[in-house]
Symmetry: C2
Subunit: 217 residues, 2 copies
């Protein structure tokens, strides 16, 4: 079985590990699965061959034998279900870890993603400061809730899981462009624990190598 994922040939984050292939790379590294990467251009992701794999013209995609998947959350869950290391064996603990995956993507990520979009698209608008302040308020509410729930624990619910992998990934996007995360020391430490994992480092280095190679070429 060969796993092939797609990633940007020149990531707009300049190799800072914020593109969504990073989450899939990290999951593959945590579960010890080798994988190939097919690099795609911004033009190619909007063309029919890629749209057949990813109807919304985004990365990453995941191909394995006759299965093709899209949506980084779904891909991480698929990897976690097939291989050990990202979901607990106990059925209830497994369901709770999956709940944290959805919480990362559907509750915590949207205002953080909006903030990074506003940062690019609305920076010169007269309302930018007010809009940013509204988004930061929403983000702080989410982080305060998350911080209270995490408390002094290392991970959100027992051992490191796919829920932590996605939550740390989402928080890293915030950390890259704001100091808000530092207002919550236990969340800063939580993200640092994620970044310190050997599998994270291997995944990060792999995506950075793509950017460096593209910059030289």
């Amino acid at each position: 079985m060969t796993i092939t994922i797609t990633a940007f040939e020149r990531s707009p984050d300049r190799g800072r590990g914020l593109a969504r292939d990073m989450r899939v790379r990290w999951a593959l590294e945590e579960t010890g699965q080798p994988y190939d990467v097919r690099l795609v251009s911004f033009k190619a992701i909007k063309e029919p061959p890629h749209l057949a794999l990813q109807p919304f013209g985004q990365i990453p995609t995941y191909e394995e034998d006759d299965l093709a998947l899209f949506e980084s959350g779904a891909i991480v869950l698929h990897i976690a279900e097939r291989h050990g290391g990202l979901l607990p064996g106990d059925a209830n603990a497994r369901a709770r870890a999956i709940a944290w995956m959805f919480a990362a993507l559907n509750t915590v990520e949207p205002p953080i993603f909006d903030r990074s979009l506003a940062n690019i698209l609305e920076r010169d608008e007269p309302w930018y400061e007010k809009r940013l302040s509204a988004l930061d308020g929403t983000i702080r509410k989410r982080l305060a809730d998350l911080s209270r729930r995490l408390g002094e624990a290392d991970w959100l619910d027992g051992e490191f899981s796919a829920g932590d992998l996605l939550m740390v990934s989402v928080l890293l996007r915030l950390k890259a462009s704001s100091d808000i995360l530092e207002e919550y020391p236990n969340l800063s430490a939580y993200v640092a624990r994620g970044e310190a994992r050997p599998a994270y480092k291997r995944a990060f280095d792999a995506q950075l190598a793509v950017f460096k190679a593209a910059s030289v070429g």
Copy 2:
């Protein structure tokens, strides 16, 4: 096994089925699972007993014996995994149906949810028209992609699945406050097919009955 979910005692959508308990009710109806509902106030969802179940102070929650879950996407997936009717038996088709669940919640819902929030919170801001127009542009991109992929099919990938359940739910939020959906006739028909399902109707009537009872009392 008794299943108990939480819902608003007075839903801000006035019984139009847009609150996220609707998705869980629908999944329980599709799979034929009886359930109890515990109604909660806006005050109660921010207090410790509810926060213990739902760290972000939202509804719905799901309790079943000694398992407590939050996040409507995770709850729908849990129900779909335990009971027949919402996920295909074939492993690859099952993974693709789950990918559509994540696409509904992480790719299609965010701009639609932002639009309904902006509608409430930013209506009187000087930038409202421009912001709405930007959000509508993003929504149209997503819907154009979705429409092209759906084509003439009844459902997104084979039989009706939990992916369709969430996608229809997300599109219903848009339909409630905008005419954009009607620009895509195959998506309008897709949503109508969802609404016509007997399980959807039972779930809709159940949440509407809560709102009506609260309005009388």
